[in-house]
């Protein structure tokens, strides 16, 4: 039997073979007999010759109507520049032409911010231009938006009518939402955002709630899951942990303990899955192995309000801090898309170079997490909080696949066993001890 990784679980070994999508729970003698199998040689090790974007991202503005206590986008200082209508149209025109030439079926456009709907007029122009171009080119338009939900009724109706997927940032109960996700001027956002969520839940768009978990809210994940399910009937609830910033520290917000977060996520998943709602932790096990955590490395093109084309939707200052340059081209209404020579290849190289992940059993599921904030070049992330919670959640997901729910309960109740699981120097089958 061939496996890639061996994970210690309460005196037994959980063996994982991500490329054959198999797992087994075995004793030590069987673990010692297991042979190693790595990724197949053709597993996305270099950039495809031709550009083949997963989607086109549009950032209508970096401006935002909220001032969240943990915002990594620094909304208070963000540029209020709005994208020109002509640039928004040029972006979807380029995509429609590309999709037609490549015989694609779907015109896939995602909107990011700031708060993209702060430039609502740009979104209107982009959506209608894309719908027109899709109709002219025999394509099916698909629109997704990441929003804070602080919208007018008219904006909510537009999003409900025209968007297929809405990722709504919503930290849950009023005591968390109003503290973490304040309006500029410190007003409370809960009532409006909850109203938006309810309105969207009644429409055809797929609603995904994205909640940021702090030290204060981690113990409430299970209870909030039941509440989200009851009140908003989303398609999915995505749990993220607070990424500390100077602003979040000033506001007294701390990230959750990674062990508590993993327990909270597993409890949440059980509650949500009973209601047919997907619980998402972005670095969790997926049905297929992956080489990248996010659209970066999948040729996603993200157009900024100024017309730069980036491989990532994060603000430029975030990559620069990590020593990265993720600008891959420029888009203008007159000339269309111009790619910078070698820029895509540079992004792919960064995505696949994860020296500190090579011996981790999450290498082909979490794939190193955020390429900018977690595994930027040279950063040793072994045993970071992100790695700890990801390993526990991933191991629980593998056990879940094996119907070992009682073992999951036993494991989560045993802190020493969790630490042993999460902090091994190597999980490679050939090196595990």
């Amino acid at each position: 039997m061939t496996f890639s990784f061996a994970i210690p679980v309460l005196g037994e070994w959980l063996l994982s073979a991500p490329f054959s999508r198999s797992a087994a729970l075995v004793n030590d003698s069987a673990r010692r007999r297991a042979a190693f199998a790595g990724p197949p040689p053709d597993f996305h090790l270099r950039a495809p010759k031709e550009l083949d974007p997963l989607f086109l991202g549009i950032i209508p503005t970096r401006d935002c109507n909220m001032a969240c206590a943990y915002c990594g986008f620094r909304s208070a200082r963000a540029s209020a520049t709005h994208m020109d209508y002509a640039l928004a149209e040029a972006a979807v025109r380029w995509l429609a032409g590309h999709c037609r030439r490549r015989n694609k079926e779907t015109l896939n456009v995602h909107f990011f911010g700031g708060e993209p709907l702060c430039a609502f007029d740009v979104v209107e122009v982009a959506v209608h231009s894309a719908r027109r171009l899709a109709a002219e080119n025999g394509l099916v338009p698909h629109f997704e938006v990441c929003t804070n939900g602080f919208l007018t009724d008219e904006q909510t109706r537009f999003v409900g009518d025209y968007f297929h997927t809405v990722i709504l940032s919503f930290d849950g109960r009023p005591e968390f939402q109003n503290r973490n996700r304040r309006l500029k001027g410190r007003g409370r956002s809960f009532d409006t955002v909850a109203r938006t969520a309810r309105a969207l839940a009644e429409g055809p768009a797929q609603l995904c709630l994205r909640a940021c978990v702090t030290q204060d809210s981690v113990a409430r994940m299970a209870e909030m899951s039941a509440w989200f399910s009851r009140e908003f009937r989303p398609l999915a609830v995505s749990w993220e942990v607070l990424k500390p910033t100077a602003a979040s520290r000033k506001a007294g917000l701390l990230p959750p303990d990674p062990y508590d977060f993993a327990r909270g996520f597993v409890a949440s998943r059980r509650i949500l899955e009973q209601e047919g709602i997907r619980a998402v932790y972005a670095a969790d096990l997926l049905p297929e192995p992956r080489y990248t955590f996010c659209p970066m490395g999948q040729d996603a093109l993200v157009v900024t309000p100024e017309g730069r084309v980036n491989a990532c939707y994060l603000p430029e200052e975030e990559w620069l801090k990590s020593g990265l340059d993720l600008t891959i081209g420029r888009l203008t209404p007159g000339s269309g898309l111009t790619l910078l020579a070698g820029a895509r290849q540079r992004v792919f190289r960064h995505v696949r170079t994860k020296p500190f992940c090579e011996a981790c059993f999450c290498r082909w599921s979490c794939a190193g997490g955020c390429h900018v904030q977690h595994t930027a070049s040279g950063r040793d992330v072994r045993d970071s909080d992100f790695c700890i919670q990801t390993r526990i959640i991933t191991a629980c997901s593998l056990l879940h696949k094996l119907d070992e729910e009682s073992l999951v309960d036993e494991l989560l109740a045993d802190r020493a066993a969790l630490e042993n699981l999460a902090c091994q120097p190597s999980y490679l089958v050939s090196q595990s001890e």
């Binding site: 209508y85 002509a86 928004a88 149209e89 007029d121 209107e124 122009v125 209608h128 231009s129 719908r131 027109r132 899709a134 109709a135 002219e136 099916v140 338009p141 008219e154 109706r157 537009f158 409900g160 009518d161 025209y162 429409g203 055809p204």
Partner: protein
């Protein structure tokens, strides 16, 4: 598909006639009258006109967007807007503002 509960262009001196609703579909907007069924199937750029007049009351808010969406100059865009409004008034889908009683 979703029928907007309270549609209605405002302020361009027209509003939606009673019992009219619409559904946004892939590439089109379908306009219905209760009991009678579908009255219009709007492709682009008319579908964009329909959507924009449901939110904006001033020509100045509509024309710059519609010009880009439709790939038209300002004069042609105004002509398109007015032609749509006249046609929809004629067919009874829109009525003069205030005439709904």
């Amino acid at each position: 598909m979703k029928i907007n509960p309270k549609p209605g262009p405002r302020g361009i001196a027209v509003e939606l006639a009673p019992r009219i609703g619409w559904i946004v579909e892939e590439g089109t907007v379908r306009v219905f009258e209760a009991e009678k069924g579908e009255l219009l199937k709007l492709g682009y750029p008319e579908a964009a006109v329909w959507d924009l007049i449901s939110r904006y009351s001033l020509e100045a808010d509509i024309v710059p967007k519609l010009a880009v969406i439709g790939g038209l100059n300002r004069a042609a865009t105004r002509a398109l807007l007015h032609s749509c409004l006249r046609g929809w008034l004629r067919s009874g889908i829109l009525v003069q503002a205030g005439s709904r009683g």
